[in-house]
Symmetry: C2
Subunit: 274 residues, 2 copies
């Protein structure tokens, strides 16, 4: 496995860019090859079989381009497809759910953890199952926040409407004594400041927000170190962005999220990677 | 063409059910064969080529089941794909955009029309183009309302947050003198009462809301009459519902929108209809 190969990162759309952003900030010498499945976004409402088939196609595409490791920067694909896909391919595959859950289980002092995510993520119980498997004595409280993604995409990042929506959602944790809340959706770091302030207002001081994007980037750093896969480059490299539809729209969103300048985004006919 | 065949109705998901509902209420003796492309929803963010390919597959599927007419109950597919698809198939195909635009152009007294819709619908300019082609002297003002669909799907149908969002969106029409507003998205009739009240509050009395679902059902009735295609049945028939993914979730949403009891929803592998 060549150290010079890029890190493959994929998501159903733009959400995984928050994961790419954390990787860029922690692993400045690494190239990223990003794929956003914009032709088939969102994954949240689709079945396990469909998501697994899509993930398989994307892994094949990333391998065809050459990558040294793959990060599944999508909560739905992490929960529903990674186990099956990992067995089929000979490349290290990291997901975002495991690092987030492990960090939350380590951080909590009183064992009460809140999880927020899309309706599909919460309904699947992926974080609860994983957290209980790490420590069966934890108390897990979950709340779906389906309006956070469209509010973030509307650009109402720090806004009175978004605050009111956040209040309604986060009030569900009142009286539960949670000291840790997992941002269980890759879009939510975009609303992090607002969520932090509303958590303080509604639930009080001293609650830690866990961002799985940050934890995944740390985990990736460990993995590259352990397998001696660092690129060893010093300068900021050129990243590459592929999407399955709407390259131009993706590029402008990517430029609003990422610290680097996304100059070009290429279209891929992903379904041909069957 | 047999009068006994059902009416094919398709959408990218559940939104088109508001069109199916209007057809059911105006054409009580007609069977509906509905297809929701839930595996590939939403269409709004996808390219013209992709939407046209998807629409073609769905028309092939509907024809394979036998339908006497097809209603494209999706604004995006109506705008981007219908013209191309209509030429390829020998079945009458109705869209939702033309009836909505024609009604608005007839209803307005002062020639100033507001159009609200998803970001894709507004960006495409589909309603403006059509309205200007009907009457170049009209003044058209458009406003994308991307939060209305997720708010409707969250069930916040008559809610203070939804009202505040609607105020912000509809304030864009202040000072424009619009006397007619087109609900240019198949989800919006679900918020019709709230939109009506906020229009009154923000823009004043005497503004007419045009619902393309209602206008499409009227147009369909004319078409069936003109081509002598009425089923002639008196009793309420059994409708059939197909989706490309997540049949169970669709069924429960369909039951909350439709006046009939949706007992079964079937899965179709739509991409095989290439």
């Amino acid at each position: 496995m060549s150290c010079d190969l890029p890190i493959g990162v994929f998501d159903s759309g733009v959400g995984g860019l928050t994961v790419a952003k954390e990787i860029m900030s922690r692993l400045a010498g690494e190239r990223i090859l990003y794929f956003g499945d914009t032709a088939r976004v969102p994954y949240g409402s689709k079945s396990k079989e469909t998501i697994t088939e899509y993930s398989r196609q994307i892994v094949r595409f990333l391998l065809s381009q050459g990558v040294k490791v793959i990060v599944v920067a999508c909560n739905t694909a992490s929960a529903l497809a990674v186990d099956a896909v990992r067995k089929e391919f000979d490349v290290p595959i990291l997901d975002v759910v495991n690092p987030g859950a492990q960090a939350a289980a380590q951080i909590t002092k009183n064992g009460s953890i809140g999880v927020i995510g899309t309706e599909a993520t919460i309904r699947s119980g992926m974080y609860s199952k994983l957290l209980y498997s790490i420590n069966p004595d934890l108390n897990i409280y979950s709340k779906a926040c389906p309006l956070f993604v469209p509010l973030a995409e509307e650009g109402w990042i720090y806004d009175s409407v978004t605050k009111e929506v956040a209040r309604r959602y986060l009030e569900e944790f009142q009286g539960k004594g949670v000291d840790t809340i997992v941002l269980g959706c890759t879009h939510y770091p975009l609303l992090r400041n607002l969520i932090r302030d509303v958590v303080r207002e509604v639930l009080g001081e001293g609650i830690t927000l866990v961002d799985p994007a940050v934890e995944t980037a740390k985990k990736l750093k460990q993995l590259l170190a352990g397998q001696d896969l660092f690129s060893g480059k010093e300068q900021v490299p050129e990243h590459t962005f592929y999407v399955s539809d709407g390259a131009e729209k993706f590029r402008s969103l990517a430029n609003s999220i990422l610290p680097c300048n996304v100059i070009e985004t290429k279209d891929v006919t992903i379904k041909t990677f069957e």
